[in-house]
Symmetry: C2
Subunit: 460 residues, 2 copies
């Protein structure tokens, strides 16, 4: 019997029903908000041609990719490499392929969201997943895309994290053009990517090490001073923009970045985003070879151990490997599986109900089943989710079933209740156990009312 | 540039946004109905240990399974076979593994739904998919499970297909015990599985061939006569049950099957299922080595070319390979990808809107953007999905964007509208193009009202 291992594979999250309900609730908040802003959900295949998937080239990604093989599924025998299949490792490459392939059927700016799984064969490590959900949105322009969309993205992040109710959070915004312009201005000969790599470590190494590393890139002292002044700029968005202007950097790229950041900042205010919830943070870098303008990270203020659950930015060209069309865009990704894991580790997942049903209907005896079915149907018509216990078992065992599942309501129907066209309705309110008799004519309204009350109570 | 093939792999469905919206709408109807009956959604990993996945043994399934490999992901180096990974080919085997693994954390009867993808490396063929969605529900009992759950399942099918609005349909119900009991009664020596295989072909071969094939199984003439009489029984559920009783088969298994079928039939009436929507069809067999009692198929009456989109049945023991616990259950699966494909082939997919947004808000000039954002936010607060066009483009191009996306509403905001705190609202009603001016205070109510009207109109 124990010949077969039934444990989920390490690095693959498997949830109990009560956890899954919470996971799905968070997923719905994200997806619903995306759709509220008119992002249409796509759902491309999980399997792609390996050659197409790895167009951008090898490195760590190629090592982490899962190969997929089936002898019946030889795609193109004339091209061996094209026949190799693999699981996608993100949702951006499939988006690029999709937009290139269906270009003529799409209208631009193209807005899509995608909430689905991706696969990376990472070394096993606590809190690292090999299968995980990403929740992406991107706006893709044809030839051009207004900087205003760069403001819409953090506005959506704001809406989502407000609804997720995980306490105060901060959206950190930067623009890569500032940095690149500054570097070009202070020392055109230096290796930009190398300097960016050092800057990315500012929070992780000591000050002396930081300066040492900067010197190693070849920057002279004046340059390092300007750079340091730049990185240390902080405060409200308004202050930061003022300090940046005061640097008097006469570089076109820098000034474009400044202007873009100012536009984003002004629009965020107009959109109604509380200025306490975002900062301009000049130390944010992100994906060195991908983002070209605005970049975002998010921080849960009360849970500093949780890394940025939501990051992204502006890119110049989405699909250069697959099409000659120029497709600038801006987008973000929420790493849902990891976020859920971290919230659970921090005791923030309140997984109580073991069923999606809001009411368990319990017929006391077999003779009460017909009436119980009628009551259940009435409730369902009102949009209440109902599990009718149809098994014949001792009453005590039936009540144990209800108590284990822990739905919001237990509805008990015996012959006495049936005769008077009533039910016994049980629920917990502010910790106390309530038990009332309700006529079936009033039941669905009553349940609907109490449900609203209880949900409001939980939100306090 | 054309070095990379961007086409989806054959056998993998990839949809345009307007199709995806319809696909997701159907998926939501199925999932919402499952949840309405208290089936909690599970979401197990797509990848399983190959050895565990194929516990039941080889054959066609082993050939169709996709192997998955990544060098970093060696699960258990001490057991080579246990390190081999594969994509799941259905949702039932993962359920069995899940219930065995988490047995002590679940309460029974355990009700779960699962709407997700599975993978089979079939030979390429029109309308056959290698990646497809299955939408499953199962009720799993511990040691026992009441026959009443066998009635709840077709009740749920009934609710779903009513909502899907694909015209008249018929749920065909049978019970395998009838057949097995009958065979045992008329000729105990015959190979049951062989006879069942022939019976399964009754609609596909000529009458003479059918009799010939039956004779080949070793049945004598009297037995074949009884068998034929049995298969030909048809009519309303009530008539069929009467005719079955009239056969006077004195076999315990047969009589149990008859009683079960009668219970299911009676309960379906009590649940309020229109008797025109189901039949007892004694020719339904299904999955020879899996189902042991009630079996279901579904037929769309107006589209006979569409095979059963929803099938399932009762099984004696879910997880015998993984646990010693006896876990009887009953369930169904809807093959969503295939159903969607067939509906589309039959012209039944009405994919018009290219965006999930219900309203496109168009600022005439850049100076109208602030006001447009305000209007968009008001609408979103009312639950209306809004895409605000933030790109700067000529007005004509903006209107083309709206017309291509084809949302329900287009809302145009110029300086004139802004001054009088109004918007220009456009929509199509009974084919005609309507254009009205609405004050922003009334806009979200007005849009909400018209939306309800338009949705009712589409349902006629």
């Amino acid at each position: 019997m124990n010949e077969y291992n039934t444990k989920p594979i390490p690095g693959f999250m498997e949830l109990l029903p009560e956890e899954q309900i919470e996971f799905d609730r968070i997923k719905s908040i994200i997806l619903d908000t995306y759709e509220q802003f008119g992002f249409t959900a796509l759902d491309t295949p999980l399997i792609e041609r390996k050659k197409t998937l790895l167009a951008k080239g090898g490195g760590e990604t190629a090592k982490q990719v899962y190969s997929v093989e089936n002898k019946n599924n030889v795609v193109d025998p004339s091209d061996n490499r094209d026949s190799e299949l693999a699981l996608r490792f993100d949702l951006t490459v499939p988006l690029a392929r999709y937009v290139a392939e269906h270009f003529n059927d799409l209208s631009f700016p193209f807005r899509r969201c995608h909430v689905s799984r991706v696969y990376r064969g990472e070394k096993p490590q606590k809190g690292r997943f090999r299968e995980f959900y990403q929740c992406d949105i991107d706006v893709i322009g044809r030839d051009q895309l207004s900087i205003r969309y760069d403001a819409e993205i953090p506005y959506i992040i704001y809406q989502i994290f407000k609804k997720l109710d995980l306490g105060k959070f901060t959206i950190r915004i930067n623009n890569r053009k500032l940095f690149n312009g500054l570097l070009r201005y202070i020392d055109e000969s230096v290796d930009f990517v190398e300097v960016l790599r050092v800057i990315d470590k500012v929070e992780k190494v000591s000050h002396d090490d930081f300066i040492f590393m900067l010197k190693n890139t070849g920057l002279n002292e004046t340059a390092i001073n300007t750079l340091q002044k730049f990185i240390q700029i902080s405060g409200s968005a308004k202050d930061v923009l003022q300090d940046l202007k005061a640097l008097n950097i006469e570089d076109e790229l820098f000034l474009t970045g400044l202007e873009e950041l100012e536009t984003v900042s002004t629009l965020l205010l107009e959109m109604g985003v509380d200025p306490n919830y975002y900062t301009i943070d000049l130390s944010i870098v992100r994906g060195l070879d991908y983002y070209t303008g605005t970049v975002y990270e998010t921080k849960l203020d009360d849970y500093q151990n949780i890394g940025s659950p939501c990051s992204g930015g502006r890119f110049d060209d989405l699909a250069s490997y697959y099409t000659d069309e120029k497709l600038p865009g801006v987008g973000i990704s929420i790493g849902l599986t990891r976020l859920f894991y971290q919230l659970r580790e921090n005791g923030l997942i309140n997984a109580t109900h073991k069923t999606v049903a809001e009411a368990i209907v319990i017929p006391v005896g077999d003779e009460n089943i017909k009436y119980s079915i009628r009551v259940s149907n009435d409730l369902r018509k009102k949009g209440i989710k109902v599990d009718t216990l149809l098994e014949s078992m001792p009453f005590k065992k039936k009540m144990k079933y209800a108590s284990k599942k822990d739905a919001m309501f237990t509805i008990i129907i015996g012959s006495e209740e049936e005769k008077s066209e009533e039910v016994a309705l049980q629920y917990r309110k502010t910790g106390r156990f309530e038990k009332v008799r309700v006529s079936i004519d009033n039941l669905s309204d009553k349940v609907d009312d109490i449900r609203k009350e209880l949900m409001a109570e939980n939100e306090i």
